[in-house]
Amino acid sequence: MSQHHLDATKMLCPMPVIKTQNKVKTLKRGDLLEIMCTDPGAINDIPAWCRINGHQFINHEERGDLFIINIKVCDA
């Protein structure tokens, strides 16, 4: 298990989802991914993407205009 990071700031949905999807393809089951976003739509879209593709949405936190979303790769 290892921790990974993805910068999806300044991108509008669905680009943060596409970037997440493409990053997850390179990861292993159990890996953790932290995604930084500025589009508030991502806090709905990335958890939805996780649910339908069998990955685990852990949490999200908001720091001003920045949204930090944590997920766990489960179906790699």
Binding site: P14, V17, I18, P40, G41, D45, A48, W49, I52
Partner: protein, 349 residues
Amino acid sequence: MSKQAKAVALISGGLDSLLAAKVLLEQGVHVEGINFYTGFCVEGHTHAIRQKDKKKQKRNNALWSAEQLGIKLHIVDVIEEYKDVLINPKHGYGANMNPCLDCKGFMVKKALEWIKENDFDFIVTGEVMGQRPMSQRKDTMPVIAKESGANDLLLRPLCAKLLPPTKPEIEGWVDREKLHEFSGRTRKPQMALAEEFGFKEYAQPAGGCCFLTDKSYSDKLVDLWKSRDDRRDYEMDDIMLLKVGRHIRPREHFKLIIGREDGENKYMEGYRNQYTHMHASSCVGPSVLVDGVLKNEDDFKLAARITARFSKDRTQESVTIEMTDVHGVSKSIDVKPLAAHEIEEAWQV
């Protein structure tokens, strides 16, 4: 059924693709969704930018559809490849800059590549014969199947009975009798089927998912190309900025993009290192980006007077406007805001 076939369904987020995929799931077919992001999809962007839309529920309807169906969804970035579809459409444009027939053919072709790479059997779309004036007609639907190369691997469950049997039907992977024969622009059969499947909520509806079907957006795109010596090309930032702000072109060689509200102003601030920008420094006013070149002091003054026109002090004698170039070098000018009637109609893009 002879085997559990695997189909990829083009999921736009609208009702028809939701139903088409569901029809196949009901027949025991393994279905996964695919959604192509061209850069022109209405979903999300403007809602994410505009302050007035902040309270609107932000959801991607393609993801939402997949979740309702309980299927995986693969979102594919086709922004670069899509340029050729938009710039050189073999079948031309619809009412605006929408190359619907080429677009659908392109997406089915991409889906065909995907099923080959992923060992799936066929492609499903939510097309309904006669529903769309360009891409969903009796004479153009076979064109999509043929030019995409999908041929009889393309199944349209909502109107399959009006079309020749496809391989999935001939092979018995799906039961043709349980497919549909919807046609025309009425939405009633789809609504009835949605009710039968228990879908109480669904996105409204076909045609409204692409900015290229919008006249105002198409006009801005044509203006952009014209201003670049008819070089019909674009970058992602170009097409994003066409969705934002009020666009005013007072001279052929420059256009001003003027934020209409706080959300847009804030979004446009992200482009300050790529565009010369202006704002009123003596009062509250919008963010303004300059697309093109201010060739001389007259251009600078005109741009400043327009910027002042949209500031809080538009009725005052003088407003101070600050302009900063892409290198961060700023200069200021005091100008009299243009009066409303001085903003010529022909300048509005």
